[in-house]
Point group: C14
Chain length 85, copies 14
Amino acid sequence: MDKIHLALICFAAATSIGLTGLGAGIGMGRGVESACMGIARNPEAKGPITTTMILGMALIESIAIYGLVIAFILLFANPFKDMLM
Amino acid sequence: MDKIHLALICFAAATSIGLTGLGAGIGMGRGVESACMGIARNPEAKGPITTTMILGMALIESIAIYGLVIAFILLFANPFKDMLM
Amino acid sequence: MDKIHLALICFAAATSIGLTGLGAGIGMGRGVESACMGIARNPEAKGPITTTMILGMALIESIAIYGLVIAFILLFANPFKDMLM
Amino acid sequence: MDKIHLALICFAAATSIGLTGLGAGIGMGRGVESACMGIARNPEAKGPITTTMILGMALIESIAIYGLVIAFILLFANPFKDMLM
Amino acid sequence: MDKIHLALICFAAATSIGLTGLGAGIGMGRGVESACMGIARNPEAKGPITTTMILGMALIESIAIYGLVIAFILLFANPFKDMLM
Amino acid sequence: MDKIHLALICFAAATSIGLTGLGAGIGMGRGVESACMGIARNPEAKGPITTTMILGMALIESIAIYGLVIAFILLFANPFKDMLM
Amino acid sequence: MDKIHLALICFAAATSIGLTGLGAGIGMGRGVESACMGIARNPEAKGPITTTMILGMALIESIAIYGLVIAFILLFANPFKDMLM
Amino acid sequence: MDKIHLALICFAAATSIGLTGLGAGIGMGRGVESACMGIARNPEAKGPITTTMILGMALIESIAIYGLVIAFILLFANPFKDMLM
Amino acid sequence: MDKIHLALICFAAATSIGLTGLGAGIGMGRGVESACMGIARNPEAKGPITTTMILGMALIESIAIYGLVIAFILLFANPFKDMLM
Amino acid sequence: MDKIHLALICFAAATSIGLTGLGAGIGMGRGVESACMGIARNPEAKGPITTTMILGMALIESIAIYGLVIAFILLFANPFKDMLM
Amino acid sequence: MDKIHLALICFAAATSIGLTGLGAGIGMGRGVESACMGIARNPEAKGPITTTMILGMALIESIAIYGLVIAFILLFANPFKDMLM
Amino acid sequence: MDKIHLALICFAAATSIGLTGLGAGIGMGRGVESACMGIARNPEAKGPITTTMILGMALIESIAIYGLVIAFILLFANPFKDMLM
Amino acid sequence: MDKIHLALICFAAATSIGLTGLGAGIGMGRGVESACMGIARNPEAKGPITTTMILGMALIESIAIYGLVIAFILLFANPFKDMLM
Amino acid sequence: MDKIHLALICFAAATSIGLTGLGAGIGMGRGVESACMGIARNPEAKGPITTTMILGMALIESIAIYGLVIAFILLFANPFKDMLM
């Protein structure tokens, strides 16, 4: 079990993208839901609704990107790399 | 138990795609739900609703893709591969 | 307990398809729900509703496919196979 | 405890069908719910509603089938069988 | 503790039927709920509603059957039986 | 702790009936709820509503029976009985 | 810790009645809720509503009885009694 | 730790009454809720509503009694008492 | 750690009152909610509503009393007291 | 670790007040909610609504008091005090 | 690890205030919600609504105070202090 | 691992502020929600709504302050400080 | 494992900001939701709604700040720093 | 296992961004939802709605930034770095 810390770092990367992805997925689903229903109610407002949805979902996407960045840092730019060997 | 870290990396890959898939699945379900209901209410708006749904679901799909990417990196391009042997 | 890592890999495959299947199942249920209710409200829109539902559910199905792919990779194309023996 | 890995593989098969069955069961329940309510509201649309419900539930059923397939593979076509003995 | 793996296989069988039964029970409850309410709203549609409910619930029942099949296989046709003794 | 596997089998039987009973209890509650409300709204439809409720609840009851069957098998017809002594 | 398996069997009995009781309690609560509300809306339908509620709740009660039966069997007719001493 | 099994039996008794009490408490709360609201809507139906509520809550109370019975049996009529000393 | 079983019995008492109190608290909250809203809608029905609420909440209170009784028995009339020393 | 049982008793006291406080807090919140909304709808019924709310919340408060009593007994009148030293 | 019991007592204090604070926070949020909405609907009833809200929230606050009291007792007036050294 | 109790005290401080902050955050969100919606419905009642919201949220904020106080006491005024060294 | 307490302190800091951030995120989401919907219903009340939202969200933000403060104290001003080396 | 504390710090960083991202994702989803629906109802209020949404979501985004900051500090500016080697 002398290499289990390497596996735990991989698990940490998976947790990072997993939890942020869970939140972002649920959140973005609400965004799509509201946009589709809004267009159905008021098709003439398609332009501003789509613009708002994309703007908002880009902000939520950034949450998932943060998790992805931490995951990549843990895997490819791990600051403890020298100590791990 | 001297090879259990390899199994834990596999488990990390499964967690990565599992959690992001859970969030994306729930989120995309809301997207389909709203699109179908929107078309039923206002069939003439089928075009923009479908466009919006596909745009939004592609963004959610990207969340699952992130989880898939981390899973593939953990399995096929593991940065700690040299240390694992 | 010198072979428990093999069992853990099997468990990882089950987790991968299990969690993505859980999310996809809940999500696709919403899709079917909305499509049936939409057709009941507006039977004339059956065509576009069914098309949208199938399109959306194919996207959700892809989430479960990702989990299945990871499960198959873990079992049949495990990149650590040489090290496991 | 030298055979516990065999039991863990059985547990993995149970988890695989269990989690996918949990998601598929909840999802299909929504499908039946919407179909029954839709027919009650609009009995004349019975044909397309039933068609849509069966189409959608077949897609959800496929999720449970994936879990079943993984469970059968783990039990009867386990790729690590040679190593388990 | 040299026979604990046998108990774990029994536990796996219980998990298999338990989780699928949990999902199927919740799902079928929605089916009965909608059918009863649908008949109350529109008693004349009793025929097609009951037909649809039975069709749908048979599909959900199949989920529980899958779990039961895995449980029986684990107990009576365990593929690792030779190794367990 | 050389007899703890017997206790674990008892625990497995309890889990089997417990989880299926949890799902069936929640599901059947929805069935009773809808039947009572349906009769209150439309007392003349008492006959078909009660018939449908009993039919549906018998299907849900079967889920709990499955769990009971597995529990009885684990306790009284345990296929590993010879190995347990 | 040579008698801990006896305590675990007691714990299994408690789990059996506990989980089924949790599900049955939640389910029966819905039954009472709907019956009271139904009588308030339509007091003339008191007879069939009460009959239906008692019929349905007896079916749910049976779930709790199953859990009780398993609990009693585990305690008073434990099939592994000879092996436990 | 040679007496920890006695403490575990106490814990089992607490779990038994705790889980059944949790379910019964939530369920009975729904019963009171519906009865109070029903009387507020239709004060003239106070008699049958109260009768139905008491009948239903007695059935739910029986769930908690089952848990209490198991708890008392575990504590005062434990079938394994001879073996516990 | 030769006295940890005493602490576990204390923990069991806390679990007993804790879980029953959790359920009873949530359930009684619904009772108060419905009674206050019912009086606001129909102030003239204050008498029967309050009577019903007190009757129902006394029944729910009994759940918490059961948990309290078990907790007191565990602490002050523990049937295993002789064995604990 | 020869004094860890004292810490576990403290933890039991915290669990006792914690779980009952969680349930009572959620339940009392519903009581305040309904009382405020009821007064807003029907200000003339302020008297009976406030009386009912206080009566009901005193009953819920008693749940938290039970948890507090058990916590105090565990700390200051622990029946196992002689054995703990 | 001979001082870990001191840390566990600190953890118990944190659990005590944490769980009661969680319940009280959720409950008090409902109180504020209803009060603000009630004033918006009926501004003239501001006086009694605010009085009721403060009265009710003081009762909920008392729940958190109980948790705080237990936490302070565990830290500053621990009845086992003599035994802890 | 002879200093792990210090880390556990830090963890206790984090739990204390974390759980109270979780409850207070959810509760205060409801307060802001209701205040904004109330002002939108009845802008003239802005004054009393804002006053009530601030009063109520200050009470909820006090919950988080309690958690913060316990956290600070655990870190800077730990009553077991002499024993920890 | 003689440095694992340092890692646990880092984990405590992450828990502190994580749990408070979870609560604050959910709570602030409700605030934005209500503000946007309120402006849509009553655009003329934009000023007071925005003021109220910012005031309320600043109060919720303070919850997250508390968690951040504890996290910073744990990392940079740890009161047990002298004992940790 | 002498380097597992490094892995635990990585895991702490993942937890920090993960939990805050989960809360922020769910919260921001509500923001986008309300903005899109608000524009659909009242397209003329697009300007202030978008302004409010961006203002509010920036505040929520700050929660995720806090989690990111703690994660970066744990990885790149760990205050215990000297002690970790």
